[in-house]
C-alpha cells in the first residue's frame, strides 16, 4: 500500500477543560442515516466530555431526535460510527446500549403508566438486581435482600425530586411535570454515564424551567455524568449547556459554547433569526 499523505482536519470537538485528559464519554464520527432516499442526518460529528452538559438544538425537523435514536441504536446508522466511552456500539440492541451507559427520556413522555412510580424506578434498577426468575417465584432470601436494597435505592432517587410521597401512585396519574421528572429518575436508575434528555422543559412554565435547570446541574454534579439535551427553550440551553451543537436539515451548522452560538450568523439565520429568540 502506498503511503497517503494525510491532511490535518480540525475535529471541531468542544470539550470542557476539566474533561480534556479523559476519554470522551461519547464520540460520533460522520454519523448519518437515510430513510429511503431521504438523508435525515448526515456527517454528524460530536464529542462530549465525561462531565459535560451539552445541548443539541435546531429548528423542528432538523433531525435531533433522530440523533438520539441513533445514539441509543433504536435506528441503526447508515454511515459513521458511535464510540461510547471509546467502545463501538454498532450492532448492539437498545437494551445493551443502555447497559453500556446511555439512558434517555422521550419527547412524548413514555412512562410505564399502569405501574406505580416505585415500579417505574424499579424497572430502571432491573440490572442492579440479579436474582433469577425462579428465585423470585420461590421467594428465596436473595429475592428479599435484593428487593430491599433496590427499594431503598429507588427511594433515594425519588428524594432527588422530593417525590417519595408519590411512590405508590400510578405513574400515569401523576401531573405532567412530575411525569417528566419521573422519567429522568427512571433513566438515572439505570446508572448511566451519559443522560440524553429529549425536550425536558417542554410544556413547563418559566419557574418550572428554572427549577429544571437547577436540577439538571445538580444531577450532573451528584452523579458526575454527562448530559446531552435537546431543547427549544433558549434560556435553558444557553443557561446550562457548556457546549452546543446546532443541527439544521440533518447537518451540523455550528458548534461551540453558548456565546459563540448566540453570535454565530449562520445559526441566527437558520434558527434564531427566523424564529426569533425566545
Amino acid at each position: 500500500m502506498s503511503k497517503v499523505k494525510l491532511v490535518p482536519v480540525p475535529s471541531g470537538s468542544v470539550i470542557p477543560e476539566r474533561d480534556i485528559d479523559k476519554t470522551p464519554i461519547l464520540e460520533t464520527h460522520h454519523l448519518g442515516i437515510d430513510f429511503g432516499g431521504l438523508v435525515a442526518v448526515d456527517d454528524f460529528t460530536l464529542t462530549i466530555g465525561r462531565t459535560e452538559i451539552a445541548g443539541l438544538i435546531g429548528p423542528n425537523g432538523a433531525g435531533k431526535t433522530t440523533v438520539f435514536n441513533m445514539l441509543t441504536n433504536v435506528y441503526q446508522p447508515t454511515r459513521g460510527s458511535i464510540l461510547l466511552d471509546g467502545r463501538e456500539t454498532r450492532g448492539l440492541k437498545t437494551s445493551q446500549v443502555c447497559k453500556l451507559g446511555i439512558a434517555r427520556t422521550f419527547q412524548n413522555i413514555r412512562l410505564f403508566s399502569n405501574m406505580t412510580v416505585m415500579e417505574n424506578i424499579l424497572v430502571g434498577l432491573h440490572d442492579e438486581m440479579s436474582y433469577s426468575a425462579l428465585t423470585g417465584i420461590l421467594r428465596l432470601p436473595a429475592f428479599y435482600r435484593s428487593e430491599r436494597i433496590a427499594r431503598e435505592r429507588a427511594m433515594e432517587l425519588l428524594s432527588i425530586f422530593s417525590m417519595e410521597d408519590t411512590a405508590d401512585a400510578q405513574a400515569g396519574s401523576l401531573p405532567y411535570g412530575a411525569q417528566r421528572r419521573l422519567e429522568i429518575l427512571r433513566a438515572l436508575a439505570t446508572n448511566p454515564s451519559l443522560l440524553l434528555l429529549d425536550e425536558p422543559a417542554a410544556g413547563m412554565n418559566p419557574s418550572e424551567t428554572e427549577e429544571l435547570m437547577e436540577n439538571i446541574r445538580r444531577i450532573r454534579d451528584m452523579f458526575q455524568i454527562a448530559v446531552l439535551l435537546i431543547e427549544h427553550d433558549m434560556n435553558l440551553v444557553m443557561g446550562i449547556c457548556e457546549g452546543i451543537c446546532v443541527l439544521n436539515y440533518g447537518k451540523v451548522i455550528a458548534k461551540g459554547d453558548p456565546d459563540q452560538i448566540k453570535n454565530d450568523p449562520v445559526v441566527i439565520e437558520a434558527y434564531l433569526g427566523k424564529k426569533g429568540a425566545k
Binding site: 433504536v74 440492541k93 422521550f106 410505564f112 403508566s113 424497572v123 423470585g136 417465584i137 405508590d168 396519574s173
Partner: protein
C-alpha cells in the same frame, strides 16, 4: 415506611385470592364428603379447576404481557397428550395413582413449555393482531399433529408414528394414542384436591413472578416497549419468559382435565376452547387473577345450570355473557362500586394516604 405499604398492597390482593380459593375448596370438599352436592356439580369440579388454571395462565400472556394469544388450548392439548401418555406408560412402574398424576402434570408442563418456546421464537417477533392470528394458526397446527399421532407402548418402550399406525407394536403392546380417536381407556386419576393444589401452585407462580423483577420487566414491556428497551430490558427474553411460563401452566392443566375423562381427543382442544379461556380472562379482567378464576367457574357452571332451558340454552348463555360484559364495563356502575368501596374503607377507619384522583378509574384493579 413507604416500601412496606407497597409490599402489603401486593400481598393483600394475592392473599385475598389464595384465601377465597382455599375457602371455596374447603366448602366444596366438605359438601362432597357429606354428599350434599349435586352430581352434575361434582362432575364439574375438576374441569373448573383446569379451566381456572388455564385462565390464570392465559392472563399472564394477555393481562400481564399484553399480547393476545388465541392458541392457548394448543398448549393444554400438548400437556394433556404427553402427560397422559406418561401416566399410561408408567402404569406398571408407578402404582400410586396420585404420583402418576403429578408426573403427568409435570411432563405436560415440560412439553408444553418446550412447545411454547419453539412457537414463541417466531410468534414473538410479531406484535398485536398479527401475533394473535399466528398463535391461532399454531393452535390449529398442534391440533392437526395430535390428530395424526399414533403412540403405543410395549416391552421395548414407547413407539411413535405419524399419519398412520406404523408403530409396529410387539404382541401384548398397548396402543395409547390412536390418531383421531385420541386416547381411550384413561384411568380417571384427577381429583378435586389435585385440581385445587394445581390452581394454588399456578397462583403462587403467577403472583410471585408478577411481583418480582421479572414480572416488572414483563409489565414494562406491556406498558411501553420502547421505554422498556431504553432502560435495558431485554424485550425478547422477557416476552419469551412470560409466554413459556404461561404455556407450561396450561400444559399442567392438560392432564388434569384429560384424566377426568375415560377418553380424550385432540379436537376437544380446538379454537373454541382457546376462545372460551380468553373469554374467562377478559370477563374476569385483564391482569386480575381472582376475576379469571371466578369467570372460569361461573361460565363452566352456567351452561349446565341453563340445561332446563333446553334448546335455548346457548342463546341464554350468550345473552348472559353480553349482559355481564356490559354491566362490568359500565362507568356509572364502576364509579358506584368505587364510592361504595371508599365509604366502606372510611367506615372501617383505615387511614389511607392521600391518593391521586385518577387512580380510581383503572378498570384493571
Amino acid at each position: 415506611m413507604k416500601k412496606k405499604i407497597t409490599l402489603t398492597k401486593y400481598t393483600r390482593s394475592s392473599f385475598l385470592t389464595y384465601g377465597l380459593v382455599i375457602a371455596a375448596y374447603v366448602i366444596l370438599q366438605s359438601m362432597v364428603l357429606t354428599g350434599s352436592i349435586t352430581s352434575s356439580l361434582k362432575g364439574m369440579l375438576v374441569p373448573i379447576c383446569a379451566y381456572a388454571v388455564m385462565a390464570v395462565s392465559l392472563n399472564l400472556t394477555v393481562g400481564v404481557l399484553g399480547e393476545l394469544s388465541l392458541g392457548h388450548a394448543g398448549f393444554m392439548s400438548v400437556g394433556a397428550f404427553t402427560g397422559v401418555i406418561a401416566a399410561i406408560a408408567l402404569e406398571g412402574i408407578v402404582p400410586m395413582g396420585w404420583l402418576r398424576l403429578v408426573i403427568a402434570m409435570a411432563v405436560g408442563a415440560v412439553f408444553a413449555a418446550v412447545a411454547g418456546f419453539l412457537i414463541g421464537i417466531p410468534v414473538l417477533r410479531l406484535k398485536g393482531d398479527y401475533l394473535a392470528i399466528v398463535t391461532l394458526a399454531f393452535g390449529e397446527i398442534i391440533k392437526s399433529v395430535l390428530n395424526n399421532l399414533y403412540v403405543g407402548v410395549d416391552g421395548d418402550g414407547l413407539h411413535f408414528s405419524l399419519l398412520s399406525d406404523r408403530t409396529g407394536l410387539a404382541a401384548g403392546g398397548r396402543m395409547i394414542v390412536n390418531g383421531p380417536m385420541g386416547i381411550t381407556g384413561i384411568t380417571k386419576l384427577s381429583t378435586f384436591t389435585a385440581g385445587f393444589v394445581l390452581l394454588m401452585l399456578t397462583l403462587f407462580i403467577v403472583f410471585n413472578l408478577v411481583n418480582s423483577r421479572t414480572g416488572r420487566a414483563i409489565k414494562s414491556i406491556r406498558d411501553n416497549r420502547i421505554a422498556a428497551e431504553s432502560v435495558g430490558i431485554n424485550v425478547t427474553k422477557y416476552r419469551l419468559t412470560a409466554f413459556v411460563t404461561s404455556a407450561a401452566m396450561a400444559g399442567a392443566a392438560g392432564p388434569l382435565f384429560a384424566m377426568n375423562y375415560s377418553n380424550i381427543i385432540a379436537n376437544k382442544f380446538d379454537f373454541n376452547t382457546s376462545i372460551l379461556v380468553l373469554v374467562f380472562v377478559v370477563l374476569g379482567g385483564l391482569g386480575n387473577m381472582l376475576g379469571s378464576i371466578i369467570a372460569a367457574t361461573a361460565l363452566t357452571i352456567l351452561p349446565e345450570a341453563l340445561r332446563q332451558f333446553a334448546d335455548y340454552r346457548m342463546l341464554i348463555y350468550a345473552i348472559v355473557l353480553i349482559l355481564v360484559m356490559l354491566i362490568t364495563n359500565n362507568p356509572t356502575l364502576a364509579a358506584w362500586t368505587q364510592s361504595a368501596r371508599d365509604k366502606l374503607r372510611r367506615a372501617v377507619g383505615r387511614k389511607k394516604p392521600a391518593r391521586t384522583p385518577a387512580e380510581g378509574g383503572d378498570g384493571h384493579e
